[in-house]
């Protein structure tokens, strides 16, 4: 493994047990506040963070899905080109300069390979590759995008894609894997990202060697980034990416696959090629139903947290949602949450939502009632003596008539901004408890939550 010098460092402000509060110094002028962060997948999410940027505390990062980033940036571009008064939002460049952008790749897109999302991803490849280091011609970029698209769709839920992607069948004699690496770096650069988690394959219990494939893809990213840095070029700080399929987590039983992943992560951090560890776990809603499986996840988080701390690096759990509070107790430096607070797969083929209020309006977190409220509950609460959700101060806790009548307006102007404020409120509360010397405030809070979220607080 190539050796390199780390460029970032975590500084701890307060430490209680495994938990700590701190910041991540990315460069001499950029400090990232560790804690929770919004995860942006869609064009709608982009609108929400740009319009509700005042809800983001100073230094709070924003995690974007690299698969949809080209589409998110198109939305930002169209918002930038209109007057502030019209959109009510800030410009993307201002967001990126005050809130470090992290780009990551949720594992479900390549694993499930649903045609709709894959086609949109391929559009991004075609658009971005010409500006990558490989500077592919537009004709080659189209050919590469189609090759990736066809390979992915032809072999879902397997590793056939990765076996095929290292072949150099294209006239350029460059493997598709190398194009994926260059696409990832170029799309991150386009978003002025300070942090990048590689597009590594998911680790699956039925294919134990997938843990080694994921490791090698991570190292390949590390190799390319190290070259850029050595040439004096700008490059985002790289995280070691570990994505897991749910089958890896058996009830109360640490698997050999997980032990290997931990050892690999430790070696990777020691190489200096990586600035931290990034984790994504598929199937959290189902895992939440089993205390034993929750224990296996939290055990992994604790162990990876120890590895990261030993290297003055952070552990980041992507799209953990409320479980991120339990992870914070165990030394997980940061976690992200989807603005609709869902933790299940992102890139599934659409359809079937019309008329389903739960789906179209989404859920909103009531941090005081300790529940995720559906549209009907919000509506009912309007007749109560103290109407609406808990008043958190920085954003409205009562939807207006226009929002109640339109699912998209409800999500963009009410539920998603409220979820953002509610998660920040909870983390701020967690920090206050840590400040008072409590060791597990996250788990104690989650214990009193409605099921199955309460599993993340049980011991």
């Amino acid at each position: 493994m190539r050796a390199a010098t780390r460029r970032t460092m975590v500084t701890v402000q307060k430490e209680v047990g495994d938990a700590y509060v701190g910041q991540w110094n990315l460069d001499p002028t950029t400090a990232l506040s560790l804690g929770v962060a919004p995860f942006v997948k869609s064009r709608e999410d982009t609108q929400v963070v740009l319009r509700s940027a005042e809800l983001l505390p100073e230094g709070q990062p924003v995690e974007f899905s690299g698969f949809s980033l080209h589409r998110a940036l198109r939305t930002a571009e169209s918002m930038d080109s209109r007057a502030d008064e019209e959109t009510g939002g800030i410009r993307f460049a201002d967001l990126a300069s005050s809130h470090p952008v992290m780009v990551s790749f949720p594992p479900d897109l390549m694993w499930l390979a649903h045609p709709g999302p894959v086609v949109k991803f391929a559009e991004g490849i075609q658009r971005i590759l010409p500006e990558s280091e490989l500077s592919s011609t537009p004709a080659d970029s189209l050919r590469i995008a189609l090759a990736i698209q066809n390979q992915l769709v032809a072999s879902p839920q397997s590793f056939v894609f990765w076996r095929a992607a290292i072949r150099r069948d294209l006239p350029t004699h460059v493997p598709l894997t190398r194009y994926l690496i260059d696409f990832s770096i170029a799309v991150a650069a386009r978003a002025r990202a300070k942090l990048l988690a590689p597009m590594a394959p998911v680790i699956d219990s039925r294919t134990p060697n997938s843990v080694w494939l994921a490791h090698k893809v991570n190292l390949a990213f590390g190799d390319v980034i190290a070259d850029r840095v050595n040439e004096g070029a700008k490059a985002p700080a790289l995280l070691y990416a570990l994505s897991f399929n749910p089958g890896v987590f058996e009830a109360d039983s640490p698997s050999e696959t997980l032990s290997t992943a931990e050892r690999n992560a430790s070696a990777a951090l020691q190489s200096g090629l990586f600035e931290g560890i990034w984790v994504a776990i598929r199937g959290l809603p189902r895992i939440s139903l089993s205390a034993g499986r929750v224990n296996s996840v939290l055990r992994l988080i604790r162990r990876l947290g120890v590895i990261a701390r030993a290297n003055d690096a952070p552990l980041w759990w992507s799209r953990a949602g409320l479980a991120g509070l339990a992870a914070a107790d165990l030394g997980c430096a940061g976690s992200s949450f989807s603005l609709n607070l869902r933790c299940d797969d992102l890139y599934v083929d659409g359809g079937g939502m019309a008329g389903d209020y739960t789906q179209t309006y989404g859920k909103v977190l009531n941090p005081v009632a300790r529940d995720l409220w559906e549209y009907r509950q919000v509506r009912r609460s309007l007749d109560a003596p103290e109407p609406g959700l808990a008043d958190l101060g920085p954003c409205r806790h009562i939807p207006n008539e226009l929002e109640l009548a339109s699912p998209s307006k409800y999500r963009v102007f009410f539920s998603k901004p409220y979820n953002l404020a509610a998660m920040n409120y909870l983390y701020s509360d967690w920090k206050a408890h840590i400040g008072q010397g409590e060791t597990t405030p996250g788990r104690e809070y989650l214990q009193t939550f409605s099921a199955p979220t309460n599993q993340w607080g049980l011991r």
């Binding site: 290292i166 493997p175 894997t177 294919t207 004096g232």
Partner: protein, 173 residues
Amino acid sequence: MTPDPLDEISVADILGEKDRGGEPDSRGVRSLVLALVRQNPDGVTAQMVAGSAGISLTWAKQVLEGLSHQREIYSRVVPGVRATLYYPNGKLVHKFLQDSREFGEQVIRVSVHEGRRTNRVQIQERKFSLLEGEKVQGSIFVDIDNVEDVLDFIREVVGRMDRLSATQEMEQK
């Protein structure tokens, strides 16, 4: 038990480094072309770049034009030579002597380059747009011996502006 083909995939396979004329190179074409131009301060043609980098002439021209647009290199049509020659826009003294920082909307890149008489500091203004990413707006070179004097000069002019503002404020009162 059949060996799992995933076992056989190496980092070199993923990067496509094997069998490339025995010269493993995980750099991209852009970096490779930039390095070639920087290694040839007397200028190179697109054809020479295409041959050295192992890419087509059209592709080489596209990358060279992109680098010219970003002001990493510049081109000149030399009388008597039919092709365009591309030159490095200064040669970095060391990779660590190049850094960029954001000042609001502006991104300023400062780098130290080799010069004929003395090393020179390049100050480059870059701007970010969602349409084009980060692009160079313009740049100046200052001989390293003159950096302090130029900084004093800037302070002097900015000082004059402060005095002017103070005078205007008094006049308004």
